[in-house]
């Protein structure tokens, strides 16, 4: 199953791979964005439950695959960073090819 069942520690965001090209996409609260800065951050259980509903709906409507909630840290500038290295790499790109993945498109490293 591609649905994450266990909710990670808050705050969380919802990310997935786009069905068509596999690219990482972030749920903004209304739609999917290619950019992490647009991600809707859920800081409490109600907001996280809303993200889970969005996830179930998105998977059912076949827009994305491998969707899941990811726990993030928010710094004083409001920047979102996944807490775990796996999702950090997932949201940026391969650490050994900075010319590939999102880091190449957005300049974020």
């Amino acid at each position: 199953m591609s649905v994450a069942v266990k909710r990670p520690p808050l705050p969380v965001i919802l990310l997935a791979n786009d069905l068509l090209d596999g690219d990482i996409v972030f749920w903004t609260g209304k739609t999917w964005s290619l950019d992490l800065v647009d991600a809707a951050v859920a800081a409490n259980n109600d907001a996280a439950a809303t993200l889970e509903q969005a996830m179930a709906h998105a998977l059912a409507t076949n827009r994305v695959v491998d969707a899941g909630l990811v726990d993030v840290a928010i710094d004083s500038w409001g920047r979102i960073t996944p807490r775990h290295i796996r999702e950090q790499i997932k949201t940026l790109g391969p650490t050994i090819r900075l010319d590939l993945g999102k880091q190449a498109q957005t300049g974020r490293v």
Partner: protein, 559 residues
């Protein structure tokens, strides 16, 4: 090289058409991901961290120039201009778009290639010695039998839903270069001691992963004619009795281990005796038809010694070093099998750009009868280079940044894609390979250290063969951090051994120093020009552990 017959060609085209339809239905929402996933995996299409990944089968690692050029074209047109050669002699593209995959598969079919059975619980791509057909120490070319097994196992209805994936490797040489002792089935072409007849030694139950095992000989000598029936007997016993309750215990190695090699062998022999051999075994005429495709190319009649090569080596030490480390004894006088390293210093093991693939295709076309091989060490072999042409080949390789002279040396590192790409990985592998490669970049020092294989996996599944590295490195996650476990004394040859743990896990930045320490103990203890693995076997792990513990103490004190 083997050429598809009409059945092969039609089968592959039909599969592409089916997959095109499946993708269309996925994209229009007619089928769900849960329904689609097994279909895409049957065609080698995975979903990794950043994107889809397409794994393309390269049967027994053999490629023509035409096929290599097509892979370059696919990489340039549909991916990011490069491909990754794997430890199973395959090629992976890391960024294909789902909508493009049917077109990619059509382009592969144009050159008699596909991605079928590169995933899933089936018999995977059959691997073989990368010097097959050219090695001086070879009894018989393993490729005809590997091709026979490929044909027998492709879409075999009885073995499409095995308890777990199943890997077969074949070697026909004195030295095992195909890691046959760490495969589900390893086949060794042998000569019968009394009769002189050529047949097969069948080894079952080797493997790496979370439970590494060395394979057990279940048949010391199997007559050639009985091969497919015997393989079918093994597969039947495994298919019926292999565990399906726990995927971590589902490989045949666990069945052999839990049943005992003797009892497992008895069951296989019993099944074999009950099978209708003639209805399963290949017609000798069919095997002969296949073997004809692998006939030796039209070699020139040459002297074993090349005077021009000798002069060029004397005049150019860099070239001489390249020839020394990258060429391999050929059975045909005046030729060599040349390994092209895909391990430039500080580079990504196994990666080649589209331009490099085209350069390799061109070089093979001009100087190696249009043939190339992919090695499980993630390098490329030009199997038929005239000694007289080596200098020109080297210059052409240098132009394409492909002339690294490090084959078998400490910077010729195997590494899986690790957490930089792989959804299963627990830690990164490639940056560890790069930092070790940079640390030991000096060619003089590399040569001084001599033959030393470092193998790195980014998770317990062991795609980077870490268990069988002279130095193995396993990347794990420890409290949310990447941690690297070092093992020593692994060996992937006929003296197969699983490495022993050196000590506690290390942080990524501590790994190069740890390798320095290990190399230091080796150089301090080696006798004459003894390779690392021999010194290790002679002195054991204790001196390495002692030195490692001392470094750890210092490191702890500093923190």
């Amino acid at each position: 090289m083997y050429r598809y017959d009409e059945f092969d060609a039609r089968f592959v085209r039909e599969r592409v058409a089916q997959f095109r339809d499946q993708v269309a239905r996925r994209l229009d929402g007619s089928i769900t991901e849960d329904e689609f996933k097994p279909l895409r995996l049957k065609n080698g299409l995975y979903l990794q961290l950043h994107a889809y990944m397409l794994r393309i089968a390269i049967p027994y690692g053999t490629l023509s120039s035409r096929q290599m050029r097509q892979l370059a074209l696919i990489g340039d047109r549909f991916d990011k201009g490069y491909g990754h050669f794997t430890t199973r002699q395959n090629l992976q593209f890391n960024w294909p778009k789902l909508k493009d995959v049917p077109e990619i598969l059509d382009l592969l079919a144009d050159v008699e290639m596909h991605a079928i059975q590169t995933s899933g619980n089936c018999i995977r791509n059959v691997t073989a010695d990368h010097f097959a057909g050219v090695a001086a120490d070879e009894l018989e070319d393993p490729r005809p039998v590997a091709e026979l097994i490929r044909q027998w196992s492709t879409a075999h209805p009885e073995f499409s839903y095995l308890p777990r994936k199943f890997k077969v490797a074949v070697s026909g040489a004195a030295e095992d270069r195909a890691v046959i002792l760490a495969h589900d089935i390893g086949i060794r072409i042998v000569r019968h001691e009394q009769t002189g007849e050529i047949g097969y030694r069948i080894i079952v139950g080797g493997g790496m992963g979370r439970t590494p095992m060395i394979g057990k000989v279940v048949r010391a000598f199997l007559p050639k004619a009985d091969l497919l029936a015997y393989l079918e007997a093994i597969m039947r016993v495994y298919n019926a009795e292999g565990r399906r309750d726990n995927k971590y215990k589902a490989r045949v190695k666990i069945l052999v281990h839990e049943t005992g090699a003797e009892e497992f062998t008895r069951r296989v022999e019993e099944e074999f005796a009950a099978l209708d051999g003639p209805s399963i075994n290949a017609d000798p005429a069919e095997l002969a038809r296949i073997a004809a495709y692998f006939a030796a190319p039209d070699y020139a009649d040459l002297e074993p010694f090349s005077a021009p090569l000798d002069r060029q080596k004397k005049a150019n030490p860099e070239f001489a070093a390249f020839v020394e480390s990258n060429s391999f004894a050929h059975r045909q006088p005046g030729y060599t099998a040349l390994t092209v390293s895909l391990k430039p210093i500080g580079g990504i093991p196994g990666d080649a750009t589209g331009d490099q693939m085209r350069a390799l295709a061109d070089i093979a076309e001009q100087w190696s009868f249009s043939e190339l091989r992919v090695t499980h060490q993630q390098n490329i072999v030009l199997p038929n280079i005239r000694l007289d042409d080596l200098f020109d080949v080297w210059k052409a390789l240098r132009t394409a940044d492909l002339a690294t002279a490090n084959v078998g040396l400490i910077t010729d590192i195997i590494a899986c894609p690790g957490l930089d790409y792989c959804a299963l990985a627990t830690a990164r592998s490639i940056p560890i390979a790069q930092s070790i490669s940079n640390r030991f970049a000096d060619p003089v020092r590399q040569k001084l250290i001599g033959e030393l294989g470092i193998k790195i996996s980014g998770c317990i599944n062991a795609c980077g063969h870490h268990h069988m590295g002279h130095i193995g490195i396993l990347g794990l996650e420890k409290s949310g951090q990447e941690s690297y476990q070092i093992t020593l004394g692994g060996d992937a040859t006929d003296k197969a051994a699983i490495g022993e743990r050196l000590g506690p896990g290390l942080g990524a930045d501590e790994v190069p120093d740890a390798i320095e320490t290990i190399v230091g103990v080796y150089l301090g203890n080696r006798e004459a020009s003894e390779p690392f693995i021999n010194t290790y076997r002679r002195i054991g792990i204790a001196p390495f552990r002692a030195a490692f513990a001392k470094v750890e103490e210092t490191s702890d004190a500093a923190h």
